[in-house]
């Protein structure tokens, strides 16, 4: 059997080019041409002078900076409490923060609408009845810039939290011990030793949060439009209204792309090439700080924080799923299956959307994992010259925001020779491309754990490279592959920002269906579908965690922006 690694390298490189280089090429080409296709810089002039673009640009930056700051302020102390103190329930809190990531951000935004819409929001109603305020007074207004920032932060701080908590886990305890032995008090040690050691991670976390907020589409689409403003992503989406203006959409995508690339460079610098600020070598378990009388208040605070992304939104979703009117608390007398019946028996889009979603998630997860495995193998074993190109291409999509990739793929594949628009293929390409970097990173670190000698033995005994891969390497990597598969699956189920540009009526997926229902305000059906989506996701994440992928969850989820 001839060695196929060379042809595979060529094929994989070509595939990645089709997935990444072509759409980005069209994106740049379109941004530099006018409606007739002649070269122009006019789109960029419009972008930076027309208030209908400049305002969203500024708004987006305000949101990203604020979200980033809030996430650090919340995640750093919470991460420290969980990793470094004897706070009660700290394991539960850690698990729940991770669990809150299961919620797609746009579902979170819809749930917060139910909670904090100024008049009908459940929290505002509660406050009015407690404080005896008249019907016009509201404690919270979710349809505002601050409301949007709050909701985005709710579903972004877990990324920062995971980074911080993991870094604190791995931080050597000896340095802190030395500090306290030399007479420093607990707080002094924290300030002089712990914080400086954790700072690079926190900075990286801040950048992750910034990127997340910058490129998010779902939450702004749900909250910003009723509030009367656009972010850059919703503005790009609005350019696909009739008559579509793809040139402007392409031009407006480029700032997102460039900013993301720059910030990822910054993040790499902050973390160093190794990923975390670990000092290497074997250190003792860090000593837990005794909180003393602060134990209970700390736990209460942690649970209060968790109420924001988790307890309150799910209570609201369950309430509206089983209630005729989302703004009324369901009671035993008013509980109804009307929405469940409507969603699964009447709504004719439900089953096709579920089918498409499952098909795409399964295919993306399978093909994505195989592709990532191949690339990780070729790169890790330096199987052929040119493997660096592969590594670069496999991680490059990290820098492409979902909506930008959506626009690029739309431009590239609504034309011959590959008219993929309107098929599930274009969505498949989008989803695999978006998830490839995370899948590749996870599998590439798994490869480093498998010693090449085992493979060399197989090769010496006459097996081809592929055979070796299948018989020796793959079984050893089983758990990593399964975890990768599950996380791609989950990420695909919740993806909205690329899908919303690329879907057609026949290729609607669950996230797009929810988004369509939002347009007509069918809150009950939205609640039922969202809970269905989260239930599926939770099962798959649980499976993944059984195979030991939870450590990588943060990294993987960092790409799963809605």
């Amino acid at each position: 059997m001839p060695d196929l690694s060379r042809p595979i390298l060529v094929a994989v490189t070509a595939l990645l080019a089709v997935m990444i280089v072509l759409p980005m090429g069209w994106l740049i080409a379109y941004s530099l041409s006018d409606k007739q296709g002649a070269a122009t810089l006019g789109n960029f002039v419009t972008l930076f002078t027309d208030p209908s673009f400049v305002d969203p640009l500024i708004t987006t930056l305000i949101i990203a900076v604020s979200v980033s700051a809030i996430c650090c302020i919340v995640a750093a102390p919470l991460g420290w409490l969980v990793a470094r103190t004897d706070m009660p329930l700290r394991r539960v809190v850690r698990t729940l923060v991770m669990a809150s990531l299961v919620t797609p951000p746009f579902v979170g935004a819809i749930a917060w609408e139910m909670l904090a819409a100024p008049n009908s929001g459940l929290l505002n109603q509660l406050w009015r009845s407690l404080a005896g305020m008249p019907s016009d007074e509201a404690l919270f207004d979710i349809y505002s810039l601050t409301g949007l920032i709050f909701v985005i932060a709710c579903y972004t701080f877990p990324y920062v939290f995971i980074l911080v908590a993991n870094a604190l886990d791995r931080m050597p305890g000896e340095l802190e011990d030395a500090s306290s032995m030399l007479g420093a008090r607990t707080w002094q040690t924290a300030r002089r030793i712990t914080v400086p050691l954790a700072l690079p991670t926190l900075l990286a976390g801040a950048l992750v949060a910034f990127l997340q907020a910058l490129n998010l589409f779902g939450s702004p689409a749900i909250l910003a439009i009723p509030a009367g403003f656009h972010t850059l992503t919703t503005r790009i989406w609005s350019l696909f209204q009739f008559p579509p203006k793809p040139e402007l959409a392409a031009a407006a995508s480029l700032p997102l792309l460039l900013l993301t690339i720059l910030l990822l460079r910054g993040q790499a610098l902050a973390l160093g090439r190794r990923g975390y600020a670990v000092l290497g070598g074997k250190y003792g378990e860090p000593r837990l700080v005794r909180l003393g009388g602060w134990r209970l208040p700390a736990a209460a605070l942690a649970l209060l924080v968790l109420a924001m992304p988790l307890f309150l939104p799910y209570a609201a979703l369950f309430n509206s799923a089983f209630s005729r009117v989302a703004s009324r608390l369901v009671t035993l007398d008013t509980i109804t299956l009307h929405n469940v019946r409507f969603t699964f028996l009447e709504l004719s889009s439900t089953l096709p959307a579920l089918k498409n979603t499952f098909l795409l998630a399964t295919l993306s997860a399978t093909l994505g994992a195989v592709l990532a495995l191949l690339i990780a193998y070729i790169v890790a074993r330096r199987a052929v010259t040119g493997h660096r190109v592969l590594a670069f291409l496999a991680t490059a999509p990290l820098a492409i925001p979902g909506i930008v990739l959506g626009v690029g793929l739309f431009l590239a594949y609504t034309r011959p020779p590959l008219t993929l628009y309107g098929t599930l293929w274009i969505l498949l390409i989008a989803f695999i491309t978006i998830e490839l970097p995370a899948a590749y990173q996870q599998l590439s670190s798994a490869f480093h754990a498998v010693h090449p000698e085992l493979e060399e033995a197989g090769r010496m005994l006459g097996a081809s490279r592929l055979r070796t891969l299948a018989d020796i390497t793959a079984p050893l990597l089983r758990s990593a592959v399964i975890a990768t598969w599950c996380f791609v699956f989950v990420a695909v189920i919740r993806e909205l920002s690329a899908a919303v540009i690329l879907f057609t009526s026949e290729t609607k997926v669950l996230s797009v269906l929810i988004f369509d229902l939002k347009e007509s305000g069918d809150v009950g059906a939205i609640a039922v579908l969202s809970l269905t989506m989260v239930a599926i996701t939770t099962v798959v994440v649980a499976v993944a965690n059984r195979f030991g992928g939870s450590r990588e969850a943060g990294r993987l989820h960092a790409r799963a922006a809605g």
Partner: protein
């Protein structure tokens, strides 16, 4: 039932073509052959802007009447529907069988593009007023509704409620208003054109200062009102206000003193329909007495079929002062309306 069928059957035998002076094809009835062809196809896709609470039950009623044919309802705001169809057609995706939009201007565009299949049923030829249908038989009005105003009785006392558009500019209503968007909704697009023509764009500029909550579809303001999120809906589909009211929601419908925007909802068979038989059958059934009665009984929209009576308990269309609908103008001005609106309301 039987009597009507016989009548239809008899009508089909008449040389209708002789009366027709346009390019419209001869009027047809629901024949066993048509039903057979439709059943062979087994499915039909219905693109519409009608609220799901009406469109899905209507689809289920059709499925019950013609077992073996599955209806896929593709519902979104008319302006997004227009965009979706343009993108799908440009990419040679053939999925739409029957299209129904709340922006009548769309049918002018589609007819010019040659996307519509001329198809006339006897119900249309005999029972639909000539001004409600295309002389060339490519589309027909399915039903008429209004873009009304409404208020939540719990949040506004009836004596404090606005009586018309200009009342909405009163500072006491600031922050209490919810409104649909012409970039997404055909109802609102049509209404915006009529209001801008009657009151001028200055009206919208003043309205935008009232801290209006902006939603997308004309089907959403009724839902926001029902939830109690805002006290007053500036616009929205009248039938949904009424349906909520009939469910016991404390809502009062207001027909503005300046006149209420009138919205016709044409329907057509798509020429590229992948299920041409089922498309004709669905189209013919919706325009039949039975289909029209179903729509009227469920939603109380005003039927296009003159044989079908409007819903009891709703104000007759003739008793309401309505604004004139002008699809040809809307077609010319659609882009301008969207751009101006987006500039004024910032979204």
């Amino acid at each position: 039932m039987i009597g009507r069928r016989t009548l239809l059957g008899a009508a089909a035998l008449l040389p209708l073509g002789a009366k027709v002076v346009s390019a419209a094809p001869p009027a047809e009835t629901i024949t066993p052959a048509l039903i057979e062809a439709a059943k062979k196809e087994g499915k039909v896709s219905y693109y519409t802007a009608m609220d799901l609470s009406v469109a899905e039950p209507m689809a289920k009623a059709f499925e019950a009447k013609f077992p073996g044919i599955k209806v896929a309802v593709e519902r979104t705001g008319a302006e997004r529907l227009f965009n979706r169809l343009a993108q799908e057609t440009a990419s040679n995706i053939k999925r739409c069988d029957v299209v129904n939009s709340s922006d009548a201007a769309h049918f002018i565009t589609w007819k010019r593009e040659g996307w519509l299949q001329p198809y006339v049923t006897v119900d249309i030829a005999e029972n639909v007023a000539p001004e409600m249908r295309d002389p060339d038989g490519t589309f027909v009005n399915q039903r008429t509704h209004l873009s009304a105003m409404a208020f939540h009785i719990g949040l506004v006392k009836p004596e404090d409620a606005p009586k018309g558009f200009n009342d909405l500019l009163n500072p006491k209503y600031a922050g209490k208003l919810v409104k649909g968007h012409p970039g997404y909704s055909g109802t609102i697009m049509t209404a915006t054109h009529q209001i801008a023509r009657e009151l001028g764009w200055g009206y919208f500029e003043k309205l935008a200062k009232q801290k209006v909550m902006q939603v997308q579809s004309a089907t959403e303001p009724p839902k926001k009102l029902e939830a109690g999120e805002r006290a007053i809906a500036v616009d929205g589909s009248d039938y949904l206000f009424w349906m909520a009211r009939e469910r016991g929601v404390p809502i009062e419908v207001v027909y503005p003193v300046e006149g209420t925007p009138l919205i016709s909802n044409p329907m057509a068979v798509f020429k590229a329909a992948p299920n041409p038989g089922a498309a004709r059958l669905l189209f013919a059934w919706i325009m039949s007495g039975e289909g029209q009665e179903f729509l009227v009984n469920l939603s109380g929209q005003y039927p296009a079929n003159l044989k079908v009576k409007a819903k009891a308990g709703r104000p007759p269309l003739s008793s309401i002062k309505t604004l004139r609908e002008d699809p040809a103008e809307v077609e010319k001005m659609a882009d301008e309306i969207k751009t101006k609106y987006a500039r004024i309301f910032k979204v």
